[in-house]
């Protein structure tokens, strides 16, 4: 089990148990519904989706924190939002500098 996942779940459970509930580290639950809806149950993470301790998962990266919950093909809206805003920021800042240049020259 990836120790990072255990820590993350412990952190989340500490927040949930802020009213004095006991801190129990359990197997991380998977978020089966996309886009942050509350999971209807708490399925466990299979050994196929969790990286070996200390190793880089094939096709993934250490510290992955989705708990293997996001179905393939989903979430493109977030991906496009990130890339479009990234390019708009670069273009916008370049435009701002060009305007400043014109104003001061």
């Amino acid at each position: 089990m990836n120790p990072w996942i255990l820590l993350s779940v412990a952190h989340a459970q500490e927040a949930e148990n802020a009213d004095g509930g006991e801190d129990v580290v359990e197997t991380p639950s998977a978020q089966t519904e996309p886009f942050g809806e509350a999971p209807s149950e708490a399925p466990t993470v299979s050994s196929e989706t969790v990286a070996d301790p200390g190793g880089i998962p094939e096709g993934g990266f250490i510290g992955n924190d989705s708990y293997g919950a996001i179905p393939l093909g989903s979430g493109w809206g977030y991906v496009w939002a990130v890339y479009i805003v990234t390019w708009l920021t670069m273009l916008g800042y370049a435009g701002y500098l060009a305007l400043r240049n014109r104003k001061t020259s």
């Binding site: 990072w4 820590l7 993350s8 412990a10 952190h11 989340a12 978020q31 996309p34 886009f35 942050g36 809806e37 509350a38 989706t49 880089i56 998962p57 094939e58 096709g59 993934g60 990266f61 250490i62 510290g63 992955n64 924190d65 989705s66 708990y67 293997g68 919950a69 996001i70 179905p71 393939l72 093909g73 989903s74 979430g75 493109w76 977030y78 991906v79 939002a81 990130v82 890339y83 805003v85 990234t86 920021t89 670069m90 800042y93 370049a94 500098l97 400043r100 240049n101 001061t104």
Partner: protein, 230 residues
């Protein structure tokens, strides 16, 4: 052509290539699926925001050490670009957090210290407008930038020092092989663009400082008031 325009064009080429690679040719991340492609935009922005702040710190030391306007103008350029990358970084992180954590924002140590970083370096830029005396403004800008930089290693090690919801330190050593190159190419793209933007902003600031030195822009009475206030 000025060197930083060529560097900016190279940055666009690298960033476009890296992003296209990450979006259309890199495999979906094995747990997150396609949402994992945010990696190629978010991580290069994060690395370079911290790197640009490091450049700002060096420029701040140079400014305080030499009192030269060239160092001061580079300092302004790096701080401004650092703040832009930092704000962008937080947006990208929020877009990644929603589908993976279920929330756009969490007051987790990495996220909180990163938000504080925006406030600190934005403060460096804001306070420059509060001082009209060049010497005082230069010293205060340098000192506040050095103080703001203290938070950069705290941001970097936040996931190591505290129990953080955010993943640990990212590097090519923690990423699967097929994801290395789009990540590296995107990172160089952001770096080239960040340096090009900083150079252009520094050039503008240098010109402004030179005009301020040579031209009697302030009425005599206002100058005397400022000198008297010191």
């Amino acid at each position: 052509m000025k060197w930083h325009y060529a560097l900016g064009a190279l940055g666009v080429l690298f960033l476009g290539t890296g992003h296209a690679w990450g979006l259309f040719f890199a495999p979906p991340e094995f747990m997150m699926g396609d949402v994992g492609r945010i990696l190629y935009a978010h991580v290069p922005t994060a690395w370079n925001a911290m790197l640009v702040y490091l450049f700002a710190f060096v420029a701040a030391i140079g400014t305080l050490w030499t009192s030269k306007s060239s160092w001061e103008s580079w300092l302004v350029g790096f701080v401004e670009v650092g703040v832009v990358l930092n704000i962008l970084l937080c947006f990208q992180g929020a877009m990644w957090a929603k589908p993976t954590w279920g929330v756009y924002w969490d007051w987790d140590p990495r996220l909180t210290t990163t938000a504080i970083l925006i406030a600190l370096f934005a403060g460096v830029l804001i306070q420059r407008n509060l001082f009209h005396a060049p010497d005082k403004r230069r010293i205060i800008t340098g000192v506040t930038a050095v103080i703001a930089f203290v938070n950069v290693p705290i941001v970097y090690f936040a996931t190591t020092w505290w129990n953080s919801l955010h993943q640990g330190l990212s590097s090519p050593d923690t990423v699967s092989n097929p994801m290395h190159w789009p990540l590296r190419v995107s990172a160089f793209g952001v770096l080239f663009l960040a340096v090009a933007f900083s150079a252009e902003r520094a050039k503008q600031e240098r010109a402004r400082l030179e005009r301020e030195d040579t031209a009697p822009t302030l009425p005599l009475a206002q100058k005397q008031l400022e000198l008297g206030a010191e």
